[in-house]
Amino acid sequence: MRGDQINLQNVIARSATQVPSPQERSGGVDRVTKLIDVSRCIGCKACQVACAEWNDLRDEVGECVGEYDNPLDLTPDTWQVMRFDEYEDEQGNLEWLIRKDNCMHCAEPGCLEACPAPGAIVQYANGIVDFNSEHCIGCGYCVSGCPFDVPRISKKDHKAYKCTLCSDRVFHGLEPACVKSCPTGSIMFGTREDMFDLAETRTNFLKSRGFDNAGVYNPEGVDGTHVIYVLQHADRPGLYSHLPEDPRISPLVDAWKGVTKPLASMAIGLAALTGFFHYVTAGPKEYGEEDEAAVREDEAREREREERP
């Protein structure tokens, strides 16, 4: 890690908030990035255990279904899983592609954009996208807004949970727990610049070893991610347990938050304004004798019903 400003966690974006967050102190804050080098991963799952230990998560003990994936999917108590894929290349060689699947901390987070609860999802100046469970209303919009299918809603408290990139550790100048534990150096952490340098070194090495399509996975569709992969087959990310080729925030989320919501807000405002003007110009509604009689009758019946034991 470099620079004493890397851990400044000024909020630069908040969910469901139109007022922009204070911007002045975001100068000089280096963005952080976690680099996952798939080619060095041995699938030991030390990162998974370290994640559970640090974040005080103890998922239920699952069952073996004949796969190495364990648990089979992300859960509210498991914020990262190793996904194992067997792939046979053109020469008939078996390649074991093991991908650590967790939140990608997009620069343009779909979850944050979709979230209707003010402040439930925030993005810090260093790039970390964090869930603030206190404000979460458990609607699940972040799940459908996420292009990587990462957040999970807890059955216990009906709130959304996902990897925080150990924002608490990073804030205190430490690397995320998964990064620290990794015995092969497959997971690295540092400033964005440094991680891209390292990724390039690794990519060049892989190319020299015959992986012509080696490259970095940093999808442009979400303006880049703060968790990047070095892949042996960067031309086909789908090989790695369906890593999306071109992840984008769902057009529905965009349409809802970009067009529909402001329009609807305007319509509501307009209706209120019209109502006010109508009240000022035409006065309150006058009820006919018939209506009043109906209401009196209604109320009388109501009283009668209440008095009855």
């Binding site: 966690q9 909020v11 908040r14 908030t17 139109q18 007022v19 030991c44 799952k45 030390a46 990162c47 998974q48 255990v49 370290a50 559970a52 230990e53 640090w54 103890r58 003010p118 402040g119 925030v122 810090y124 964090d130 603030n132 206190e134 404000h135 925080t164 924002s167 608490d168 550790r169 804030f171 205190h172 727990a177 620290k180 534990s181 990794c182 015995p183 150096g185 807000s265 509501i268 405002g269 209120a272 209401v295 209604d298 109320e299 109501e302 019903r305 209440e306």
Partner: protein
């Protein structure tokens, strides 16, 4: 109790609900504007250097414990992570090491010597002196009975194959050397460490 609402009250309630939710949507909702990062759980922890003992690599670990060791307080380990200064592991750990905390806190962890007598199905707690005494007695008796000095062809072999030794896995060179000397000087042949169990 059921809430009875007249038609007029219903309209009023609806209008009030609409107005408040619209206000909230337009940003008039009173809520704290702070982002709360989780409390840093290592603040004030006591850090103790140790070794992971679960294989012969012997990675360095840092044990984080709560408490100031005051007389009325029992300290407790609540977090374990790799020791960056350890020359072997440099802060990294394998899944076993990364999960050490749950070994430490495990209910089934062995905390004192126990013995299961022949023919019994119960474990009985004994103290350390008794345990060491018994082990020494058993070893002596067995060695006296089964030690082989010469084989059938008259070659000197000096071995004792009816007892084996299971040693610790994470040992320093010096500890390993001494363990070897003790075990081999008795003539013991079957010798392994618990990392392979």
């Amino acid at each position: 109790m059921t809430l009875r609402v007249t038609r007029r009250q219903f309209f009023k309630l609806g209008a009030a609900g609409m107005a408040t939710s619209s206000m909230a949507m337009m940003g008039f909702a009173p809520e704290p504007a702070v982002a709360s990062i989780r409390h840093f759980k290592l603040t004030g922890a006591k850090i103790t250097r140790s070794n992971c003992t679960y294989c012969s690599v012997g990675c360095g670990v840092l044990l984080y414990s709560r408490g100031d060791a005051a007389i009325n307080n029992v300290d407790d380990i609540y977090h374990v992570e790799g020791d960056p200064d350890h020359p072997v592991s440099r802060g990294s750990l394998c899944p076993k090491g990364a999960g050490l905390l749950d070994y430490i806190q495990s209910d089934s962890r062995l905390r004192y010597p126990q013995v299961r007598e022949a023919g019994s199905d119960e474990w009985k707690r004994i103290d350390w002196d008794e345990a060491l005494e018994r082990i020494a007695r058993h070893m002596k008796d067995d060695r006296d009975a089964n030690f082989v000095a010469d084989d059938d062809d008259g070659n000197t072999v000096n071995h004792w194959i009816s007892t084996g030794m299971l040693a610790a896995s994470a040992s320093t060179n010096e500890t390993a050397y001494l363990t070897h000397k003790v075990v081999r000087s008795l003539g013991m042949v079957a010798f392994d460490n618990q990392a392979r169990v």
